[in-house]
Amino acid sequence: MIRDWFRSLFSATVDGWNRFWFTPSHPATLAVIRIATGTLLFYSHLIWALNSSSFFGSQSWLNEPATRALRGEGYGFSLLTMIDSQPAALFAVHALALIASLCLAVGFLSRAAALTMFVLTISFANRNPGALYGFDQIVGFLTMYLSINPGHRWLSIDAWRARRRSLRNSAPRLSALGSQPTVTIATRLIQLHLCLLYFVAGISKLKGATWWSGVAFWGAIGNQEYQTVDLTALVHWPVLINLATHATLAWEISYPFVVWNRWVRPFVLAMAVAVHAGIGVCFGMLTFGMIMIAANVAFVSPTLIRQLAGQSDEHVERANGRHDRVSKPAERPRSRSSESLHPV
Protein backbone atom coordinates (compact mmCIF):
# COMPACT_ATOMS: atom_id res chain seq x y z
CA MET A 1 0.00 0.00 0.00
CA ILE A 2 2.81 2.38 0.91
CA ARG A 3 4.58 1.43 -2.27
CA ASP A 4 1.43 2.22 -4.28
CA TRP A 5 1.18 5.57 -2.57
CA PHE A 6 4.77 6.44 -3.50
CA ARG A 7 4.19 5.18 -7.02
CA SER A 8 1.12 7.40 -7.37
CA LEU A 9 3.02 10.33 -5.88
CA PHE A 10 5.88 9.85 -8.32
CA SER A 11 3.55 9.49 -11.26
CA ALA A 12 1.54 12.59 -10.30
CA THR A 13 4.73 14.58 -9.77
CA VAL A 14 6.11 13.61 -13.16
CA ASP A 15 2.81 14.42 -14.85
CA GLY A 16 2.59 17.76 -13.09
CA TRP A 17 6.20 18.58 -13.90
CA ASN A 18 5.73 17.76 -17.58
CA ARG A 19 2.52 19.76 -17.73
CA PHE A 20 4.13 22.70 -15.94
CA TRP A 21 7.23 22.91 -18.13
CA PHE A 22 6.52 21.24 -21.44
CA THR A 23 2.93 21.96 -22.46
CA PRO A 24 3.19 24.18 -25.55
CA SER A 25 1.98 27.74 -25.00
CA HIS A 26 1.08 30.63 -27.22
CA PRO A 27 3.86 33.26 -27.35
CA ALA A 28 1.69 36.34 -26.72
CA THR A 29 2.93 36.74 -23.13
CA LEU A 30 6.58 36.46 -24.11
CA ALA A 31 6.03 38.81 -27.05
CA VAL A 32 4.86 41.59 -24.72
CA ILE A 33 7.85 41.01 -22.45
CA ARG A 34 10.16 41.02 -25.47
CA ILE A 35 8.79 44.31 -26.78
CA ALA A 36 9.07 46.00 -23.37
CA THR A 37 12.54 44.61 -22.69
CA GLY A 38 13.85 45.59 -26.11
CA THR A 39 12.43 49.10 -25.83
CA LEU A 40 13.85 49.70 -22.35
CA LEU A 41 17.20 48.23 -23.35
CA PHE A 42 17.30 50.57 -26.33
CA TYR A 43 16.70 53.53 -24.04
CA SER A 44 19.26 52.34 -21.50
CA HIS A 45 21.91 51.81 -24.17
CA LEU A 46 21.13 55.16 -25.73
CA ILE A 47 22.02 56.78 -22.38
CA TRP A 48 25.17 54.64 -22.16
CA ALA A 49 26.15 55.56 -25.72
CA LEU A 50 25.63 59.30 -25.22
CA ASN A 51 27.86 59.14 -22.14
CA SER A 52 30.27 56.54 -23.40
CA SER A 53 33.51 58.25 -22.49
CA SER A 54 32.32 58.88 -18.92
CA PHE A 55 31.44 55.25 -18.30
CA PHE A 56 33.52 53.18 -20.71
CA GLY A 57 36.41 55.31 -21.93
CA SER A 58 39.98 55.00 -20.71
CA GLN A 59 39.38 57.94 -18.33
CA SER A 60 35.90 56.89 -17.26
CA TRP A 61 34.52 57.02 -13.71
CA LEU A 62 35.70 53.45 -13.30
CA ASN A 63 39.01 52.79 -14.96
CA GLU A 64 40.33 49.29 -15.49
CA PRO A 65 42.04 48.87 -12.08
CA ALA A 66 38.92 50.10 -10.28
CA THR A 67 36.71 47.78 -12.31
CA ARG A 68 38.96 44.83 -11.49
CA ALA A 69 38.95 45.76 -7.81
CA LEU A 70 35.15 45.93 -7.76
CA ARG A 71 34.63 42.71 -9.64
CA GLY A 72 37.00 40.79 -7.43
CA GLU A 73 37.77 37.17 -8.19
CA GLY A 74 34.52 36.29 -9.93
CA TYR A 75 33.99 34.55 -13.25
CA GLY A 76 32.28 37.42 -15.04
CA PHE A 77 33.39 38.49 -18.49
CA SER A 78 33.07 41.63 -20.55
CA LEU A 79 33.60 42.22 -24.24
CA LEU A 80 34.24 45.86 -23.34
CA THR A 81 37.25 44.93 -21.25
CA MET A 82 38.60 42.95 -24.18
CA ILE A 83 38.42 45.92 -26.54
CA ASP A 84 40.29 48.04 -24.01
CA SER A 85 38.20 51.22 -24.34
CA GLN A 86 39.26 51.90 -27.93
CA PRO A 87 36.88 54.59 -29.24
CA ALA A 88 36.16 52.94 -32.60
CA ALA A 89 35.47 49.56 -31.02
CA LEU A 90 33.36 51.19 -28.31
CA PHE A 91 31.31 52.94 -30.97
CA ALA A 92 30.77 49.63 -32.74
CA VAL A 93 29.62 47.93 -29.53
CA HIS A 94 27.20 50.75 -28.73
CA ALA A 95 25.83 50.60 -32.27
CA LEU A 96 25.44 46.83 -32.01
CA ALA A 97 23.60 47.20 -28.68
CA LEU A 98 21.22 49.80 -30.10
CA ILE A 99 20.50 47.79 -33.23
CA ALA A 100 20.07 44.50 -31.35
CA SER A 101 17.77 46.01 -28.74
CA LEU A 102 15.67 47.58 -31.49
CA CYS A 103 15.54 44.24 -33.31
CA LEU A 104 14.41 42.60 -30.08
CA ALA A 105 11.62 45.15 -29.64
CA VAL A 106 10.28 44.81 -33.16
CA GLY A 107 10.93 41.08 -33.35
CA PHE A 108 13.41 40.98 -36.21
CA LEU A 109 15.88 38.09 -36.00
CA SER A 110 14.53 37.92 -32.49
CA ARG A 111 16.44 35.01 -31.03
CA ALA A 112 19.80 36.30 -32.27
CA ALA A 113 18.87 39.76 -30.96
CA ALA A 114 17.96 38.36 -27.54
CA LEU A 115 21.18 36.37 -27.32
CA THR A 116 23.22 39.40 -28.42
CA MET A 117 21.54 41.58 -25.81
CA PHE A 118 22.13 38.94 -23.14
CA VAL A 119 25.88 38.92 -23.90
CA LEU A 120 26.00 42.72 -24.13
CA THR A 121 24.05 43.19 -20.90
CA ILE A 122 26.61 41.03 -19.12
CA SER A 123 29.46 42.85 -20.84
CA PHE A 124 28.26 46.33 -19.95
CA ALA A 125 27.49 45.28 -16.38
CA ASN A 126 30.89 43.72 -15.81
CA ARG A 127 32.69 46.71 -17.32
CA ASN A 128 30.89 49.11 -15.01
CA PRO A 129 29.92 47.22 -11.85
CA GLY A 130 29.74 50.39 -9.78
CA ALA A 131 26.95 52.01 -11.78
CA LEU A 132 24.45 49.15 -11.77
CA TYR A 133 21.12 48.80 -10.08
CA GLY A 134 18.03 46.60 -10.13
CA PHE A 135 17.20 47.37 -13.74
CA ASP A 136 20.39 45.69 -14.96
CA GLN A 137 19.73 42.56 -12.92
CA ILE A 138 16.24 42.21 -14.33
CA VAL A 139 17.18 42.75 -17.98
CA GLY A 140 20.03 40.29 -17.41
CA PHE A 141 17.74 37.39 -16.66
CA LEU A 142 15.00 38.52 -19.04
CA THR A 143 17.36 38.55 -22.02
CA MET A 144 18.69 35.16 -20.92
CA TYR A 145 15.21 33.62 -20.89
CA LEU A 146 14.16 35.44 -24.06
CA SER A 147 17.14 33.78 -25.74
CA ILE A 148 15.36 30.46 -25.18
CA ASN A 149 12.26 31.80 -26.90
CA PRO A 150 11.72 35.50 -27.54
CA GLY A 151 8.03 35.15 -28.34
CA HIS A 152 8.97 36.00 -31.87
CA ARG A 153 6.02 34.25 -33.46
CA TRP A 154 3.56 36.90 -32.39
CA LEU A 155 3.60 40.67 -32.87
CA SER A 156 6.92 40.60 -34.64
CA ILE A 157 8.53 41.10 -38.02
CA ASP A 158 9.69 37.50 -37.81
CA ALA A 159 6.07 36.30 -37.56
CA TRP A 160 5.03 38.58 -40.41
CA ARG A 161 7.85 37.25 -42.61
CA ALA A 162 7.03 33.66 -41.72
CA ARG A 163 3.40 34.24 -42.64
CA ARG A 164 4.34 35.80 -45.96
CA ARG A 165 6.68 32.92 -46.68
CA SER A 166 4.01 30.38 -45.91
CA LEU A 167 1.48 32.17 -48.11
CA ARG A 168 3.98 32.30 -50.95
CA ASN A 169 4.85 28.64 -50.65
CA SER A 170 1.29 27.54 -49.99
CA ALA A 171 2.81 25.38 -47.35
CA PRO A 172 1.14 24.40 -44.14
CA ARG A 173 2.84 26.53 -41.53
CA LEU A 174 0.71 26.25 -38.51
CA SER A 175 3.91 26.36 -36.43
CA ALA A 176 4.13 30.04 -37.37
CA LEU A 177 1.42 30.58 -34.80
CA GLY A 178 4.06 29.70 -32.30
CA SER A 179 2.73 27.42 -29.58
CA GLN A 180 5.89 25.68 -28.42
CA PRO A 181 7.32 24.05 -25.30
CA THR A 182 10.18 26.57 -25.31
CA VAL A 183 7.63 29.38 -24.91
CA THR A 184 6.42 27.68 -21.75
CA ILE A 185 9.93 27.07 -20.46
CA ALA A 186 10.99 30.69 -20.95
CA THR A 187 7.78 31.98 -19.36
CA ARG A 188 8.06 29.60 -16.43
CA LEU A 189 11.66 30.63 -15.80
CA ILE A 190 10.66 34.29 -15.68
CA GLN A 191 7.78 33.45 -13.33
CA LEU A 192 9.96 31.41 -10.98
CA HIS A 193 12.77 33.96 -11.05
CA LEU A 194 10.27 36.66 -10.06
CA CYS A 195 8.97 34.48 -7.23
CA LEU A 196 12.50 34.02 -5.94
CA LEU A 197 13.28 37.72 -6.28
CA TYR A 198 10.19 38.90 -4.40
CA PHE A 199 10.50 36.26 -1.70
CA VAL A 200 14.14 37.11 -1.01
CA ALA A 201 13.41 40.84 -1.16
CA GLY A 202 10.62 40.28 1.35
CA ILE A 203 12.34 38.04 3.89
CA SER A 204 15.54 40.13 3.80
CA LYS A 205 13.44 43.06 5.01
CA LEU A 206 12.37 41.10 8.07
CA LYS A 207 15.79 41.90 9.57
CA GLY A 208 14.98 45.61 9.53
CA ALA A 209 13.24 47.22 12.50
CA THR A 210 11.48 49.85 10.40
CA TRP A 211 9.65 47.19 8.40
CA TRP A 212 8.20 45.93 11.68
CA SER A 213 7.49 49.39 13.11
CA GLY A 214 5.76 50.37 9.87
CA VAL A 215 7.89 53.39 8.99
CA ALA A 216 10.15 51.86 6.32
CA PHE A 217 8.07 53.48 3.60
CA TRP A 218 9.04 56.79 5.13
CA GLY A 219 12.66 55.88 4.42
CA ALA A 220 11.88 56.20 0.72
CA ILE A 221 9.64 59.26 1.04
CA GLY A 222 12.17 61.13 3.16
CA ASN A 223 15.15 60.29 0.98
CA GLN A 224 15.82 63.39 -1.06
CA GLU A 225 18.28 61.74 -3.43
CA TYR A 226 15.60 59.29 -4.58
CA GLN A 227 12.66 61.64 -4.41
CA THR A 228 11.06 62.84 -7.64
CA VAL A 229 7.61 63.52 -6.18
CA ASP A 230 7.31 65.13 -2.76
CA LEU A 231 5.20 62.85 -0.59
CA THR A 232 6.31 64.28 2.74
CA ALA A 233 2.76 65.53 3.37
CA LEU A 234 2.03 61.90 4.27
CA VAL A 235 3.79 62.61 7.54
CA HIS A 236 0.40 63.84 8.77
CA TRP A 237 -1.15 60.45 8.05
CA PRO A 238 1.25 58.00 9.73
CA VAL A 239 -1.26 55.19 9.44
CA LEU A 240 -1.01 55.43 5.65
CA ILE A 241 2.77 55.10 5.90
CA ASN A 242 2.31 52.05 8.15
CA LEU A 243 -0.21 50.57 5.72
CA ALA A 244 2.07 51.05 2.70
CA THR A 245 4.99 49.49 4.61
CA HIS A 246 3.10 46.45 5.84
CA ALA A 247 1.28 45.92 2.55
CA THR A 248 4.54 46.01 0.57
CA LEU A 249 6.18 43.50 2.89
CA ALA A 250 3.17 41.17 2.96
CA TRP A 251 2.85 41.34 -0.82
CA GLU A 252 6.53 40.54 -1.44
CA ILE A 253 6.67 37.59 0.94
CA SER A 254 3.35 36.11 -0.16
CA TYR A 255 3.96 36.66 -3.89
CA PRO A 256 5.49 33.23 -4.69
CA PHE A 257 2.69 31.42 -2.90
CA VAL A 258 -0.42 33.29 -3.99
CA VAL A 259 0.38 34.45 -7.52
CA TRP A 260 -0.37 30.96 -8.87
CA ASN A 261 -3.96 31.13 -7.74
CA ARG A 262 -6.14 32.38 -10.61
CA TRP A 263 -8.54 34.23 -8.29
CA VAL A 264 -5.87 36.02 -6.29
CA ARG A 265 -3.51 36.65 -9.20
CA PRO A 266 -5.21 39.82 -10.49
CA PHE A 267 -4.83 41.43 -7.07
CA VAL A 268 -1.19 40.35 -6.79
CA LEU A 269 -0.41 41.78 -10.22
CA ALA A 270 -2.38 44.97 -9.54
CA MET A 271 -0.26 45.44 -6.43
CA ALA A 272 2.88 44.84 -8.53
CA VAL A 273 1.82 47.57 -10.94
CA ALA A 274 1.00 49.95 -8.08
CA VAL A 275 4.30 49.31 -6.25
CA HIS A 276 6.53 49.51 -9.31
CA ALA A 277 4.73 52.44 -10.90
CA GLY A 278 4.96 54.20 -7.54
CA ILE A 279 8.70 53.50 -7.28
CA GLY A 280 9.14 54.65 -10.87
CA VAL A 281 7.21 57.88 -10.62
CA CYS A 282 7.87 58.94 -7.03
CA PHE A 283 11.39 57.64 -6.44
CA GLY A 284 12.98 58.31 -9.79
CA MET A 285 13.44 54.74 -11.00
CA LEU A 286 11.11 54.70 -13.95
CA THR A 287 13.16 52.25 -16.00
CA PHE A 288 13.34 49.83 -13.08
CA GLY A 289 9.63 50.21 -12.40
CA MET A 290 8.75 49.57 -16.03
CA ILE A 291 10.97 46.51 -16.43
CA MET A 292 9.50 45.00 -13.26
CA ILE A 293 5.98 45.55 -14.55
CA ALA A 294 7.04 44.00 -17.86
CA ALA A 295 8.44 40.96 -16.05
CA ASN A 296 5.18 40.56 -14.14
CA VAL A 297 3.40 40.20 -17.47
CA ALA A 298 4.76 36.63 -17.34
CA PHE A 299 1.78 35.86 -15.12
CA VAL A 300 -0.76 37.23 -17.58
CA SER A 301 -2.42 34.59 -19.70
CA PRO A 302 -1.60 34.74 -23.43
CA THR A 303 -5.29 34.29 -24.10
CA LEU A 304 -6.07 37.48 -22.18
CA ILE A 305 -3.29 39.36 -23.97
CA ARG A 306 -4.64 38.27 -27.35
CA GLN A 307 -8.12 39.30 -26.34
CA LEU A 308 -6.83 42.69 -25.27
CA ALA A 309 -5.10 42.94 -28.64
CA GLY A 310 -8.42 42.21 -30.30
CA GLN A 311 -7.53 38.68 -31.33
CA SER A 312 -9.35 35.49 -30.57
CA ASP A 313 -8.08 32.02 -31.40
CA GLU A 314 -10.52 31.88 -34.28
CA HIS A 315 -9.40 35.29 -35.51
CA VAL A 316 -5.77 34.23 -35.54
CA GLU A 317 -6.54 30.96 -37.23
CA ARG A 318 -8.60 32.74 -39.86
CA ALA A 319 -5.85 35.28 -40.47
CA ASN A 320 -3.25 32.59 -40.89
CA GLY A 321 -5.35 29.69 -41.93
CA ARG A 322 -6.03 30.24 -45.60
CA HIS A 323 -3.07 28.01 -46.27
CA ASP A 324 -2.95 26.39 -42.87
CA ARG A 325 -4.80 23.35 -43.93
CA VAL A 326 -3.11 21.38 -41.22
CA SER A 327 -5.47 20.85 -38.39
CA LYS A 328 -4.00 17.98 -36.54
CA PRO A 329 -5.94 17.56 -33.37
CA ALA A 330 -2.75 17.48 -31.34
CA GLU A 331 -1.83 20.95 -32.54
CA ARG A 332 -5.16 22.65 -32.18
CA PRO A 333 -6.00 23.25 -28.54
CA ARG A 334 -4.17 26.53 -28.26
CA SER A 335 -6.54 28.06 -25.78
CA ARG A 336 -5.96 25.13 -23.46
CA SER A 337 -2.23 25.33 -23.80
CA SER A 338 -2.37 29.08 -23.22
CA GLU A 339 -4.18 28.53 -19.99
CA SER A 340 -1.70 25.85 -19.08
CA LEU A 341 0.69 28.63 -18.03
CA HIS A 342 -1.63 29.23 -15.12
CA PRO A 343 -2.44 25.76 -13.96
CA VAL A 344 -3.96 26.39 -10.57
Binding site: F22, S54, W61, L62, N63, P65, Y133, H193, T232, G284
Partner: protein, 218 residues
Protein backbone atom coordinates in the same frame (compact mmCIF):
# COMPACT_ATOMS: atom_id res chain seq x y z
CA UNK B 1 4.96 18.68 -31.14
CA UNK B 2 5.69 16.97 -27.87
CA UNK B 3 9.30 16.40 -26.97
CA UNK B 4 10.79 12.94 -26.59
CA UNK B 5 11.12 11.63 -23.06
CA UNK B 6 14.92 11.74 -23.16
CA UNK B 7 14.82 15.41 -24.19
CA UNK B 8 12.41 16.24 -21.40
CA UNK B 9 14.60 14.46 -18.84
CA UNK B 10 17.72 16.28 -20.02
CA UNK B 11 16.03 19.67 -20.07
CA UNK B 12 14.49 18.99 -16.65
CA UNK B 13 17.91 18.33 -15.16
CA UNK B 14 19.24 21.58 -16.61
CA UNK B 15 16.24 23.48 -15.27
CA UNK B 16 16.68 22.05 -11.77
CA UNK B 17 20.37 22.94 -11.75
CA UNK B 18 19.61 26.45 -13.00
CA UNK B 19 16.95 27.03 -10.35
CA UNK B 20 19.26 25.85 -7.55
CA UNK B 21 22.00 28.09 -8.95
CA UNK B 22 19.91 31.27 -8.98
CA UNK B 23 18.56 30.53 -5.49
CA UNK B 24 22.04 29.87 -4.12
CA UNK B 25 23.20 33.46 -4.74
CA UNK B 26 20.80 35.22 -2.33
CA UNK B 27 20.90 32.21 0.00
CA UNK B 28 24.67 32.60 0.45
CA UNK B 29 24.56 36.27 1.31
CA UNK B 30 25.99 37.01 4.75
CA UNK B 31 25.13 35.87 7.32
CA UNK B 32 24.91 32.44 5.75
CA UNK B 33 25.45 28.78 6.59
CA UNK B 34 28.35 26.60 5.53
CA UNK B 35 25.89 24.60 3.44
CA UNK B 36 24.71 27.71 1.60
CA UNK B 37 28.28 28.78 0.93
CA UNK B 38 29.26 25.36 -0.39
CA UNK B 39 26.28 25.17 -2.68
CA UNK B 40 26.98 28.68 -3.91
CA UNK B 41 30.67 28.03 -4.47
CA UNK B 42 29.72 25.05 -6.66
CA UNK B 43 27.46 27.22 -8.82
CA UNK B 44 29.49 30.43 -8.65
CA UNK B 45 31.22 30.03 -12.02
CA UNK B 46 27.83 29.72 -13.69
CA UNK B 47 26.02 32.50 -11.85
CA UNK B 48 28.96 34.87 -12.24
CA UNK B 49 29.33 34.08 -15.93
CA UNK B 50 25.59 34.51 -16.62
CA UNK B 51 25.26 37.62 -14.44
CA UNK B 52 22.86 35.90 -12.05
CA UNK B 53 24.83 36.50 -8.87
CA UNK B 54 22.38 38.83 -7.15
CA UNK B 55 21.09 39.06 -3.61
CA UNK B 56 17.85 40.94 -4.42
CA UNK B 57 17.94 42.71 -1.05
CA UNK B 58 16.12 45.78 -2.36
CA UNK B 59 15.67 48.37 0.43
CA UNK B 60 16.72 45.71 2.95
CA UNK B 61 17.19 45.32 5.79
CA UNK B 62 15.72 48.83 5.72
CA UNK B 63 15.93 51.98 3.64
CA UNK B 64 19.00 53.86 4.77
CA UNK B 65 20.59 57.24 4.21
CA UNK B 66 21.84 58.06 0.75
CA UNK B 67 25.32 59.12 -0.27
CA UNK B 68 26.88 61.50 -2.74
CA UNK B 69 30.50 62.25 -3.56
CA UNK B 70 31.43 65.90 -3.16
CA UNK B 71 34.57 67.12 -4.87
CA UNK B 72 36.81 70.16 -4.93
CA UNK B 73 39.08 70.54 -7.92
CA UNK B 74 41.98 72.92 -8.13
CA UNK B 75 42.74 74.01 -11.66
CA UNK B 76 46.20 74.90 -12.94
CA UNK B 77 45.32 78.62 -12.95
CA UNK B 78 44.41 78.47 -9.27
CA UNK B 79 40.65 78.45 -9.65
CA UNK B 80 38.57 76.09 -7.51
CA UNK B 81 35.77 74.03 -8.99
CA UNK B 82 33.32 72.30 -6.66
CA UNK B 83 30.54 69.87 -7.39
CA UNK B 84 29.06 66.54 -6.50
CA UNK B 85 27.72 63.39 -8.06
CA UNK B 86 25.02 62.55 -8.46
CA UNK B 87 23.63 65.99 -9.16
CA UNK B 88 20.06 66.16 -10.46
CA UNK B 89 20.76 69.55 -12.05
CA UNK B 90 23.62 68.16 -14.11
CA UNK B 91 22.85 64.47 -14.62
CA UNK B 92 19.73 64.28 -16.70
CA UNK B 93 17.72 62.28 -17.71
CA UNK B 94 16.95 60.40 -14.54
CA UNK B 95 18.59 57.17 -15.67
CA UNK B 96 21.89 59.01 -16.05
CA UNK B 97 21.40 60.51 -12.59
CA UNK B 98 20.78 57.04 -11.19
CA UNK B 99 23.95 55.64 -12.78
CA UNK B 100 25.95 58.35 -11.01
CA UNK B 101 23.98 57.76 -7.82
CA UNK B 102 25.02 54.11 -7.86
CA UNK B 103 28.68 55.13 -8.19
CA UNK B 104 28.51 57.09 -4.93
CA UNK B 105 26.50 54.35 -3.23
CA UNK B 106 29.13 51.83 -4.32
CA UNK B 107 31.79 54.01 -2.69
CA UNK B 108 29.79 53.97 0.54
CA UNK B 109 29.30 50.19 0.38
CA UNK B 110 33.08 49.81 0.25
CA UNK B 111 33.70 52.52 2.83
CA UNK B 112 31.71 50.82 5.58
CA UNK B 113 33.66 47.57 5.21
CA UNK B 114 37.32 47.83 6.32
CA UNK B 115 38.15 44.71 4.29
CA UNK B 116 37.19 46.63 1.14
CA UNK B 117 39.71 49.43 1.72
CA UNK B 118 41.92 48.49 -1.25
CA UNK B 119 38.92 48.49 -3.57
CA UNK B 120 37.79 51.84 -2.15
CA UNK B 121 41.27 53.23 -2.80
CA UNK B 122 41.12 52.18 -6.44
CA UNK B 123 37.61 53.52 -6.80
CA UNK B 124 38.33 56.95 -5.35
CA UNK B 125 41.55 57.24 -7.35
CA UNK B 126 39.56 56.42 -10.47
CA UNK B 127 36.93 59.04 -9.61
CA UNK B 128 39.66 61.61 -9.05
CA UNK B 129 41.36 60.67 -12.31
CA UNK B 130 38.14 61.10 -14.22
CA UNK B 131 37.37 64.47 -12.67
CA UNK B 132 40.89 65.86 -13.08
CA UNK B 133 40.98 64.76 -16.72
CA UNK B 134 37.58 66.31 -17.43
CA UNK B 135 38.43 69.62 -15.79
CA UNK B 136 42.17 69.65 -16.50
CA UNK B 137 42.67 69.98 -12.76
CA UNK B 138 45.89 69.43 -10.87
CA UNK B 139 44.34 68.46 -7.56
CA UNK B 140 41.13 66.79 -6.47
CA UNK B 141 39.65 66.41 -3.02
CA UNK B 142 36.86 63.89 -2.61
CA UNK B 143 34.40 63.53 0.24
CA UNK B 144 31.77 60.91 0.87
CA UNK B 145 28.70 62.80 1.97
CA UNK B 146 25.96 60.99 3.86
CA UNK B 147 22.46 62.40 3.83
CA UNK B 148 20.46 61.13 6.78
CA UNK B 149 16.74 60.71 6.58
CA UNK B 150 14.86 62.80 9.13
CA UNK B 151 12.20 61.11 11.22
CA UNK B 152 8.54 61.78 10.39
CA UNK B 153 8.27 63.74 13.64
CA UNK B 154 11.16 66.01 12.65
CA UNK B 155 9.55 66.75 9.30
CA UNK B 156 6.18 67.30 10.95
CA UNK B 157 7.93 69.84 13.17
CA UNK B 158 9.14 71.69 10.10
CA UNK B 159 12.63 70.27 9.48
CA UNK B 160 13.34 70.35 5.72
CA UNK B 161 14.83 67.25 4.07
CA UNK B 162 17.98 69.21 3.20
CA UNK B 163 18.59 70.65 6.66
CA UNK B 164 22.36 71.03 7.37
CA UNK B 165 22.22 68.80 10.43
CA UNK B 166 21.18 65.87 8.24
CA UNK B 167 24.56 65.72 6.47
CA UNK B 168 27.86 64.19 7.50
CA UNK B 169 31.06 63.94 5.52
CA UNK B 170 34.03 61.67 5.40
CA UNK B 171 37.11 62.66 3.41
CA UNK B 172 38.04 60.07 0.82
CA UNK B 173 41.36 61.55 -0.22
CA UNK B 174 43.30 64.28 -1.91
CA UNK B 175 44.80 63.47 -5.25
CA UNK B 176 47.46 65.33 -7.20
CA UNK B 177 48.42 65.14 -10.78
CA UNK B 178 50.91 66.88 -12.95
CA UNK B 179 51.21 66.54 -16.67
CA UNK B 180 51.87 62.93 -17.57
CA UNK B 181 51.60 61.67 -14.00
CA UNK B 182 49.27 59.04 -12.79
CA UNK B 183 47.08 60.40 -10.04
CA UNK B 184 48.67 59.95 -6.65
CA UNK B 185 47.39 60.34 -3.19
CA UNK B 186 48.80 63.00 -0.92
CA UNK B 187 50.63 61.58 2.12
CA UNK B 188 48.24 61.04 4.98
CA UNK B 189 48.06 64.05 7.21
CA UNK B 190 44.85 63.28 8.85
CA UNK B 191 42.11 65.61 9.85
CA UNK B 192 38.59 64.52 10.32
CA UNK B 193 36.38 66.56 8.08
CA UNK B 194 33.11 66.48 9.79
CA UNK B 195 29.99 68.44 9.28
CA UNK B 196 26.49 67.90 10.44
CA UNK B 197 25.38 65.92 13.39
CA UNK B 198 28.03 63.23 13.42
CA UNK B 199 31.01 61.96 11.56
CA UNK B 200 31.08 58.87 9.39
CA UNK B 201 32.74 55.69 10.66
CA UNK B 202 36.13 56.01 12.36
CA UNK B 203 37.84 54.41 9.39
CA UNK B 204 37.65 57.91 7.96
CA UNK B 205 40.57 58.97 10.08
CA UNK B 206 42.79 56.37 8.45
CA UNK B 207 42.27 57.97 5.11
CA UNK B 208 43.81 60.98 3.57
CA UNK B 209 42.53 64.44 4.17
CA UNK B 210 44.64 67.53 3.97
CA UNK B 211 42.14 69.90 5.48
CA UNK B 212 38.59 70.15 6.56
CA UNK B 213 36.35 71.33 3.75
CA UNK B 214 35.26 74.90 3.99
CA UNK B 215 31.52 75.19 4.24
CA UNK B 216 31.29 71.46 4.00
CA UNK B 217 27.62 71.33 4.71
CA UNK B 218 25.42 72.39 1.84
Amino acid sequence: MAWARSVRVGVSLLLILHLIAIASAPWAMQPSSVLAERVFSFFQPYVDFAFLNHGYHFFAPEPGPSHVIRYELQLADGRLVTGQFPDAQVHSPRLLYHRHFMLSETANRLAVDPAQQPALDELTRSFADHLMTNYSAIQARLYLRRHYIPTPDQVADGLPLDAPELFAERPLGTFHRQAGDRTRTVPPTVQAAVGGRESLPPAATQRVATQAPQGAIR
